[in-house]
C-alpha cells in the first residue's frame, strides 16, 4: 500500500519564548491509500494541530511531513499552496462555505483557482454533489441548506479533483447520529476508492469507522487501537 501522508517525529510549538505552547511532541504517523485513521483525544491534546500539519496548513517546528512522498517542509509558499489545492481536501468544523456562492460554486472554487475551466469545474461539482446525495441542490445558497446538507457540500468540495488525502476535523459537528453515520459512510467510501483519510472526532461511534484509532494525550500518541487483521 502506498503511503499518502507521513509524519516523522513531528514537533510543533505555537508561539515562542515564555508564551511557547508545545502542541505536538514527536508524533510519527502514516496513512496509506485506502486507509481511514481517526484521531481522538481531549480538548487541547493537539488533534487539529496534527491535521493542519499533515495538510500543510501549518509548518512543523521539527520533524518531517510528507504528502505522497514529497517533503512539504522545504517547499516555497506558492508550491505548497498548489500542492494543497491539488492533493489535499479539507473539511473543517466551521465548513468555510462562502455564503454568497451557491453550493455548486463553493465546490467549484478551489478547482477554478487551480486553473480548471469553468465548464469542467461545474461538471465535476455536479458529480461530487451527486456523490454526496445532493444532486439538484447545486443552485442553493448555504443558508438555504440544513446543517447536514452544508456538511455534505463541504465534503463534496473536498472530493473534487484528484485529492488523495482527505482531512476532516469534526466533520459530524452537531449532526444527529444517522446523519453523522451518513457522513462517515461517505468518507469510508472515498477511502475504499483509494483515498487516505485522517479524521478528528470526539465521538467513539464515528471513530469506530476507522481502520485505526490514534489516541492523543498532551501532544503525543498514547495508544493505538486497530481491529485484528482478520476482520479487515
Amino acid at each position: 500500500m502506498t503511503t499518502v501522508s507521513r509524519l516523522t517525529e513531528v514537533t510543533k510549538v505555537h508561539g515562542s519564548g515564555a508564551s511557547a505552547v508545545p502542541a505536538l511532541r514527536g508524533v510519527s504517523l502514516e496513512v496509506a491509500a485506502g486507509e481511514l485513521v481517526a484521531v481522538m483525544g481531549p480538548s487541547g491534546s493537539g488533534k487539529s494541530t496534527l491535521l493542519n500539519l499533515a495538510g500543510g496548513l501549518e509548518r512543523a517546528t521539527e520533524g518531517t511531513v510528507e504528502v505522497e512522498g514529497v517533503a512539504i517542509g522545504g517547499l516555497p509558499a506558492k508550491k505548497l499552496a498548489a500542492l494543497r489545492r491539488r492533493k489535499v481536501g479539507y473539511v473543517f468544523q466551521d465548513l468555510n462555505l462562502i455564503p454568497s456562492l451557491t453550493a455548486a460554486e463553493n465546490v467549484m472554487l478551489p478547482r477554478e483557482l487551480d486553473g480548471v475551466r469553468t465548464r469542467k469545474a461545474r461538471q465535476e461539482a455536479e458529480r461530487a454533489l451527486g456523490e454526496v446525495g445532493l444532486a439538484g441542490a447545486g443552485n442553493r445558497f448555504p443558508d438555504e441548506l440544513s446543517g447536514g446538507e452544508r456538511q455534505r457540500v463541504a465534503i463534496a468540495r473536498a472530493l473534487t479533483g484528484e485529492r488523495r488525502l482527505l482531512l476532516a476535523d469534526e466533520p459530524t459537528g452537531a449532526l444527529d447520529t444517522p446523519t453523522g453515520d451518513d457522513v462517515l459512510q461517505l468518507l469510508r467510501e472515498r477511502c475504499d476508492a483509494g483515498a487516505a483519510v485522517l479524521l478528528v472526532t470526539h465521538e467513539p461511534r464515528y471513530a469506530a469507522w476507522a481502520d485505526r484509532v490514534v489516541f492523543l494525550r498532551d501532544g503525543a500518541i498514547a495508544d493505538t487501537a486497530e481491529p485484528m487483521a482478520s476482520s479487515r
Partner: protein
Amino acid sequence: MLVTRLTVRIPRMHTQYMSIRHGLLALLSQGARYGYQLRTEFEASTGATWPLNIGQVYTTLSRMERDGLVAPGEQDDQGRVVYAITEQGRSELARWFSTPIAQADRPRDELVIKLAMAVIAPDVDAAAMIQAQRSATMRTLQQLTKAKRGAGVAQRLVYDSMIFQAEAEQRWLDHCESVLAAHSERPE
C-alpha cells in the same frame, strides 16, 4: 466469520431469557413455525451478534407451552413439531409491546467493580487499566461498526444499540481518566 463469533462484553440491560421468549412469541404471531425456523428468523432480525442455540429455542418453547402461551401441533413424519401462538400468548405479546422495560434488572458490571478495586488497590495502575480497556472497547466498536455496514434495518438498530452502549462505556472511561488525573494532582 469473526463477526458471528463476536462476544460483546457489555452488560445486558434486560434479562435475556425474557427477550428470547417474547422474540419467539413475536415471530409465532406471524404464523406457526418449526423450532429451527424460529432460530433462523430470530437471528436474522437481531443480527449475528446475538446467537441463539437450538437447545435454548426448545427449552423456551416447552416452558411457554407449560405456561399456555404456545401450542404444539402434530409431529410430521420427520418428527418435527410446528408451534403456534395461543390467545393467551397473543395477549402476553401485546402486553410486552405496550409496557416499557424496567432498567432494574441490570446485572452488576464487572468493569465497574474492577475499576473501583484498581483505584483503591495500592499496587495497581488504574490509568494503564483504563487505557487498555479503552483500546479494547474501541476494537469492539470497530467490529460492530463493520458488521453494521450492509445490515438490514432491524439488524442495524440492534448493532446501534450495542454501539451506543459501548460508546457510553468509552465516555465513562475518558471521564474516569480525567477525574483520576485531577485527583492525583491535588489529592484530598
